[in-house]
Protein backbone atom coordinates (compact mmCIF):
# COMPACT_ATOMS: atom_id res chain seq x y z
CA UNK A 1 0.00 0.00 0.00
CA UNK A 2 1.36 3.39 -0.96
CA UNK A 3 2.37 5.69 1.89
CA UNK A 4 0.35 8.92 1.74
CA UNK A 5 2.29 12.12 1.17
CA UNK A 6 2.45 14.14 4.38
CA UNK A 7 0.97 17.61 4.13
CA UNK A 8 1.01 20.45 6.64
CA UNK A 9 -0.95 23.70 6.68
CA UNK A 10 0.60 26.83 5.17
CA UNK A 11 1.38 29.41 7.83
CA UNK A 12 2.07 33.00 6.87
CA UNK A 13 5.26 33.32 8.91
CA UNK A 14 7.30 35.54 6.56
CA UNK A 15 7.32 39.14 7.88
CA UNK A 16 5.61 41.63 5.55
CA UNK A 17 6.61 45.07 4.32
CA UNK A 18 3.84 47.66 4.72
CA UNK A 19 1.65 44.74 5.71
CA UNK A 20 1.25 43.64 2.10
CA UNK A 21 4.40 42.00 0.67
CA UNK A 22 5.91 39.02 2.46
CA UNK A 23 9.65 39.70 2.15
CA UNK A 24 11.26 38.55 5.40
CA UNK A 25 13.62 41.50 5.46
CA UNK A 26 15.98 41.80 8.44
CA UNK A 27 17.73 45.20 8.30
CA UNK A 28 19.27 44.73 11.74
CA UNK A 29 21.00 41.52 10.64
CA UNK A 30 22.16 43.28 7.46
CA UNK A 31 23.72 46.13 9.44
CA UNK A 32 25.61 43.61 11.59
CA UNK A 33 26.71 41.78 8.43
CA UNK A 34 28.13 44.97 6.92
CA UNK A 35 30.19 45.50 10.08
CA UNK A 36 31.45 41.91 9.79
CA UNK A 37 32.24 42.51 6.09
CA UNK A 38 34.29 45.60 6.97
CA UNK A 39 36.23 43.62 9.57
CA UNK A 40 36.91 40.83 7.05
CA UNK A 41 38.10 43.36 4.46
CA UNK A 42 40.53 44.83 7.01
CA UNK A 43 41.80 41.34 7.91
CA UNK A 44 42.20 40.41 4.23
CA UNK A 45 44.11 43.65 3.56
CA UNK A 46 46.41 42.97 6.52
CA UNK A 47 47.00 39.40 5.29
CA UNK A 48 47.99 40.71 1.85
CA UNK A 49 50.37 43.29 3.37
CA UNK A 50 51.93 40.65 5.64
CA UNK A 51 52.30 38.35 2.64
CA UNK A 52 54.01 41.11 0.64
CA UNK A 53 56.39 41.64 3.56
CA UNK A 54 57.19 37.94 3.58
CA UNK A 55 55.66 36.95 6.92
CA UNK A 56 54.23 33.86 5.18
CA UNK A 57 57.41 33.20 3.22
CA UNK A 58 58.80 34.25 -0.17
CA UNK A 59 59.42 37.87 0.84
CA UNK A 60 61.99 40.21 2.40
CA UNK A 61 61.22 39.22 6.01
CA UNK A 62 61.56 35.53 5.17
CA UNK A 63 65.16 35.86 3.99
CA UNK A 64 67.80 35.28 6.65
CA UNK A 65 71.54 35.20 7.02
CA UNK A 66 73.74 33.62 9.68
CA UNK A 67 77.48 33.37 10.17
CA UNK A 68 79.76 31.62 12.58
CA UNK A 69 81.84 34.05 14.74
CA UNK A 70 85.06 32.77 13.18
CA UNK A 71 83.77 33.38 9.64
CA UNK A 72 84.17 29.75 8.62
CA UNK A 73 80.59 29.49 7.43
CA UNK A 74 78.01 32.00 6.12
CA UNK A 75 74.54 30.67 5.51
CA UNK A 76 71.83 32.39 3.50
CA UNK A 77 68.41 30.77 3.81
CA UNK A 78 64.69 31.39 4.15
CA UNK A 79 63.56 31.33 7.78
CA UNK A 80 59.96 30.93 6.58
CA UNK A 81 59.31 28.39 3.86
CA UNK A 82 56.15 27.02 2.26
CA UNK A 83 55.10 23.40 1.90
CA UNK A 84 55.95 22.05 -1.54
CA UNK A 85 57.61 25.28 -2.66
CA UNK A 86 61.26 25.05 -3.75
CA UNK A 87 63.86 27.25 -2.04
CA UNK A 88 67.60 27.47 -1.73
CA UNK A 89 69.95 27.31 1.26
CA UNK A 90 73.38 28.66 0.38
CA UNK A 91 76.48 27.90 2.46
CA UNK A 92 79.60 29.98 1.84
CA UNK A 93 82.78 28.61 3.34
CA UNK A 94 85.66 30.70 4.62
CA UNK A 95 89.33 29.81 4.19
CA UNK A 96 89.52 27.96 7.51
CA UNK A 97 86.83 25.57 6.34
CA UNK A 98 89.11 24.09 3.70
CA UNK A 99 91.25 21.38 5.23
CA UNK A 100 93.47 19.29 2.97
CA UNK A 101 91.70 20.35 -0.28
CA UNK A 102 88.32 19.39 1.05
CA UNK A 103 85.48 20.73 3.14
CA UNK A 104 83.58 18.54 5.56
CA UNK A 105 80.09 19.63 6.43
CA UNK A 106 77.70 17.87 8.76
CA UNK A 107 73.96 18.62 8.68
CA UNK A 108 71.31 17.12 10.94
CA UNK A 109 68.78 14.82 9.35
CA UNK A 110 66.03 17.46 9.22
CA UNK A 111 67.76 18.85 6.15
CA UNK A 112 66.61 15.81 4.19
CA UNK A 113 63.67 14.36 6.14
CA UNK A 114 61.78 17.58 6.96
CA UNK A 115 63.13 20.25 4.63
CA UNK A 116 63.22 17.97 1.61
CA UNK A 117 66.77 18.50 0.40
CA UNK A 118 66.93 16.73 -2.96
CA UNK A 119 69.92 18.27 -4.62
CA UNK A 120 73.30 19.71 -3.62
CA UNK A 121 75.40 21.78 -5.99
CA UNK A 122 78.22 21.07 -6.48
CA UNK A 123 77.70 17.39 -5.92
CA UNK A 124 79.69 16.31 -2.83
CA UNK A 125 82.57 13.93 -3.43
CA UNK A 126 81.14 11.83 -0.63
CA UNK A 127 78.04 11.84 1.52
CA UNK A 128 77.84 9.53 4.51
CA UNK A 129 74.94 9.02 6.89
CA UNK A 130 75.40 8.67 10.63
CA UNK A 131 75.59 10.67 13.85
CA UNK A 132 71.89 11.68 13.41
CA UNK A 133 72.70 13.45 10.19
CA UNK A 134 74.70 13.48 7.00
CA UNK A 135 78.42 14.15 6.48
CA UNK A 136 79.13 15.83 3.16
CA UNK A 137 82.64 16.02 1.80
CA UNK A 138 83.30 18.60 -0.93
CA UNK A 139 86.50 18.87 -2.93
CA UNK A 140 87.79 22.45 -2.55
CA UNK A 141 90.84 24.51 -3.43
CA UNK A 142 90.47 28.01 -1.93
CA UNK A 143 87.90 30.75 -1.31
CA UNK A 144 85.28 31.54 -2.43
CA UNK A 145 83.66 28.16 -1.94
CA UNK A 146 79.90 27.83 -1.96
CA UNK A 147 77.50 24.90 -1.68
CA UNK A 148 73.85 25.30 -2.59
CA UNK A 149 71.15 23.02 -1.13
CA UNK A 150 67.80 22.85 -2.93
CA UNK A 151 64.96 22.43 -0.46
CA UNK A 152 61.31 21.52 -0.93
CA UNK A 153 59.57 20.81 2.41
CA UNK A 154 56.78 18.27 2.24
CA UNK A 155 54.91 19.14 5.45
CA UNK A 156 54.34 22.22 7.60
CA UNK A 157 56.09 22.61 10.94
CA UNK A 158 58.92 24.27 12.83
CA UNK A 159 62.19 22.46 12.18
CA UNK A 160 65.65 22.75 13.74
CA UNK A 161 68.57 22.75 11.40
CA UNK A 162 72.20 22.41 12.43
CA UNK A 163 75.20 22.79 10.15
CA UNK A 164 78.73 22.06 11.36
CA UNK A 165 82.09 22.37 9.69
CA UNK A 166 84.20 21.71 12.77
CA UNK A 167 83.50 21.40 16.45
CA UNK A 168 83.84 25.15 16.94
CA UNK A 169 82.03 26.21 13.79
CA UNK A 170 78.44 25.25 14.20
CA UNK A 171 75.28 27.05 13.19
CA UNK A 172 71.92 26.24 14.66
CA UNK A 173 68.70 27.77 13.41
CA UNK A 174 64.98 27.17 13.04
CA UNK A 175 62.96 27.13 9.83
CA UNK A 176 59.19 27.55 9.87
CA UNK A 177 57.37 25.78 7.06
CA UNK A 178 53.96 27.28 6.31
CA UNK A 179 51.08 25.10 5.06
Amino acid sequence: MAVPIRKSPVEDTVPKVNGEVAVGEDPEFQRKWWKFESAVFIIFTLLVLLDLAGVFGRGPLAKAHKSTPDGVMNVTYERIERTGTPSVLKVEFGNNAIQGSEIQLWANENLVTKLGNKQVAPQPAKSVIGDDGIHYTFDATKQPATAVFSLQPSAPGLYDLTLRVSASSELHFKILVMP
Binding site: V17, N18, V21, V23, G24, E25, D26, P27, F29, Q30, W33, W34, F36, E37, V40, F41, G84
Partner: protein
Protein backbone atom coordinates in the same frame (compact mmCIF):
# COMPACT_ATOMS: atom_id res chain seq x y z
CA UNK B 1 43.81 13.18 4.27
CA UNK B 2 45.30 16.56 3.29
CA UNK B 3 42.91 16.78 0.35
CA UNK B 4 39.92 16.43 2.67
CA UNK B 5 41.25 19.11 5.05
CA UNK B 6 42.08 21.39 2.11
CA UNK B 7 38.66 20.82 0.54
CA UNK B 8 36.88 21.70 3.82
CA UNK B 9 39.00 24.81 4.37
CA UNK B 10 38.71 25.79 0.70
CA UNK B 11 34.92 25.39 0.71
CA UNK B 12 34.37 27.61 3.75
CA UNK B 13 36.96 30.16 2.66
CA UNK B 14 35.36 30.38 -0.79
CA UNK B 15 31.91 30.65 0.79
CA UNK B 16 33.09 33.51 3.00
CA UNK B 17 34.91 35.31 0.19
CA UNK B 18 32.04 35.13 -2.30
CA UNK B 19 29.54 36.03 0.43
CA UNK B 20 31.37 39.19 1.46
CA UNK B 21 32.29 40.30 -2.08
CA UNK B 22 28.68 41.13 -2.86
CA UNK B 23 25.43 39.36 -3.46
CA UNK B 24 25.43 40.04 -7.18
CA UNK B 25 27.59 37.09 -8.31
CA UNK B 26 24.73 34.71 -7.53
CA UNK B 27 22.19 36.55 -9.61
CA UNK B 28 22.96 39.30 -12.07
CA UNK B 29 26.43 38.15 -12.98
CA UNK B 30 28.33 40.45 -15.29
CA UNK B 31 31.55 39.59 -17.16
CA UNK B 32 33.44 41.50 -14.48
CA UNK B 33 32.04 39.19 -11.80
CA UNK B 34 32.66 36.05 -13.88
CA UNK B 35 36.37 36.90 -13.67
CA UNK B 36 36.28 36.86 -9.85
CA UNK B 37 34.34 33.62 -9.54
CA UNK B 38 36.45 31.66 -12.06
CA UNK B 39 39.76 33.01 -10.80
CA UNK B 40 38.99 32.27 -7.14
CA UNK B 41 37.69 28.80 -8.03
CA UNK B 42 40.81 28.05 -10.07
CA UNK B 43 43.16 29.13 -7.29
CA UNK B 44 41.32 27.13 -4.60
CA UNK B 45 41.37 23.95 -6.69
CA UNK B 46 45.18 24.16 -6.94
CA UNK B 47 45.60 23.98 -3.17
CA UNK B 48 42.82 21.40 -2.79
CA UNK B 49 44.31 18.66 -4.98
CA UNK B 50 47.96 19.80 -4.77
CA UNK B 51 50.37 17.56 -6.63
CA UNK B 52 48.11 14.53 -6.35
CA UNK B 53 45.98 14.70 -9.48
CA UNK B 54 44.87 11.08 -9.31
CA UNK B 55 41.25 10.10 -9.92
CA UNK B 56 41.04 8.83 -6.31
CA UNK B 57 42.10 12.18 -4.90
CA UNK B 58 39.84 14.24 -7.16
CA UNK B 59 36.84 11.97 -6.52
CA UNK B 60 37.44 12.27 -2.74
CA UNK B 61 37.61 16.07 -3.03
CA UNK B 62 34.36 16.17 -5.03
CA UNK B 63 32.62 13.90 -2.48
CA UNK B 64 33.80 16.06 0.44
CA UNK B 65 32.57 19.25 -1.24
CA UNK B 66 29.28 17.55 -2.10
CA UNK B 67 28.79 16.43 1.52
CA UNK B 68 29.64 19.91 2.79
CA UNK B 69 27.19 21.47 0.38
CA UNK B 70 24.48 19.05 1.48
CA UNK B 71 25.21 19.73 5.17
CA UNK B 72 25.15 23.50 4.70
CA UNK B 73 21.85 23.26 2.79
CA UNK B 74 20.36 21.09 5.56
CA UNK B 75 21.54 23.50 8.28
CA UNK B 76 19.99 26.40 6.36
CA UNK B 77 16.58 24.76 6.61
CA UNK B 78 17.03 24.13 10.34
CA UNK B 79 18.35 27.52 11.41
CA UNK B 80 17.07 30.83 10.09
CA UNK B 81 20.15 32.63 11.44
CA UNK B 82 22.48 30.19 9.68
CA UNK B 83 20.50 30.71 6.47
CA UNK B 84 20.87 34.47 6.85
CA UNK B 85 24.62 34.11 7.37
CA UNK B 86 25.08 31.94 4.29
CA UNK B 87 22.59 33.58 1.94
CA UNK B 88 21.69 36.89 3.57
CA UNK B 89 18.11 38.12 3.82
CA UNK B 90 15.96 39.79 1.17
CA UNK B 91 16.31 43.58 1.22
CA UNK B 92 13.82 46.19 0.09
CA UNK B 93 15.56 48.68 -2.22
CA UNK B 94 12.63 50.77 -3.39
CA UNK B 95 9.40 51.26 -1.52
CA UNK B 96 6.48 53.64 -2.12
CA UNK B 97 8.33 55.81 -4.66
CA UNK B 98 11.34 56.22 -2.40
CA UNK B 99 14.80 54.65 -2.55
CA UNK B 100 15.93 52.86 0.59
CA UNK B 101 19.30 54.60 0.45
CA UNK B 102 20.94 52.60 3.24
CA UNK B 103 20.32 49.31 1.44
CA UNK B 104 21.15 50.65 -2.04
CA UNK B 105 24.46 52.07 -0.89
CA UNK B 106 25.29 49.12 1.35
CA UNK B 107 24.66 46.60 -1.43
CA UNK B 108 26.39 48.77 -4.07
CA UNK B 109 23.31 48.82 -6.28
CA UNK B 110 22.19 51.80 -8.36
CA UNK B 111 19.06 52.81 -10.27
CA UNK B 112 20.36 51.18 -13.46
CA UNK B 113 20.34 47.76 -11.78
CA UNK B 114 16.74 48.28 -10.66
CA UNK B 115 15.69 49.47 -14.10
CA UNK B 116 17.37 46.46 -15.74
CA UNK B 117 15.21 44.20 -13.57
CA UNK B 118 12.13 46.32 -14.28
CA UNK B 119 12.59 46.07 -18.05
CA UNK B 120 12.46 42.28 -17.85
CA UNK B 121 8.95 42.74 -16.41
CA UNK B 122 7.97 45.03 -19.30
CA UNK B 123 8.10 48.20 -17.21
CA UNK B 124 9.21 51.40 -18.92
CA UNK B 125 10.30 53.59 -16.00
CA UNK B 126 10.86 53.63 -12.27
CA UNK B 127 7.54 55.31 -11.54
CA UNK B 128 5.76 52.05 -12.41
CA UNK B 129 7.56 50.16 -9.61
CA UNK B 130 5.97 49.78 -6.19
CA UNK B 131 8.62 47.57 -4.62
CA UNK B 132 12.09 46.51 -5.71
CA UNK B 133 13.51 43.71 -3.57
CA UNK B 134 17.01 42.27 -3.65
CA UNK B 135 16.53 38.54 -3.20
CA UNK B 136 18.86 36.13 -1.40
CA UNK B 137 20.05 34.67 -4.71
CA UNK B 138 21.08 38.12 -5.95
CA UNK B 139 18.22 38.77 -8.36
CA UNK B 140 16.02 41.85 -8.05
CA UNK B 141 12.28 41.23 -7.83
CA UNK B 142 9.97 43.95 -9.10
CA UNK B 143 6.42 44.42 -7.93
CA UNK B 144 4.55 46.85 -10.14
CA UNK B 145 2.06 49.41 -8.97
CA UNK B 146 -1.62 48.56 -9.33
CA UNK B 147 -3.15 50.23 -12.36
Amino acid sequence: MYTIIHAVLGYFFLLLTVRILSRRPGGQMTLFEFVIVFLIGGVIILSTVGDDRSVTNCVCAVIVIGLLHGSVSWLKTKSRTFGAIVDGTPLVLLKDDRWVDEMMKGMRIDANDIMAAARTKGLKDLSQIKYAILERNGTISIIRKDK
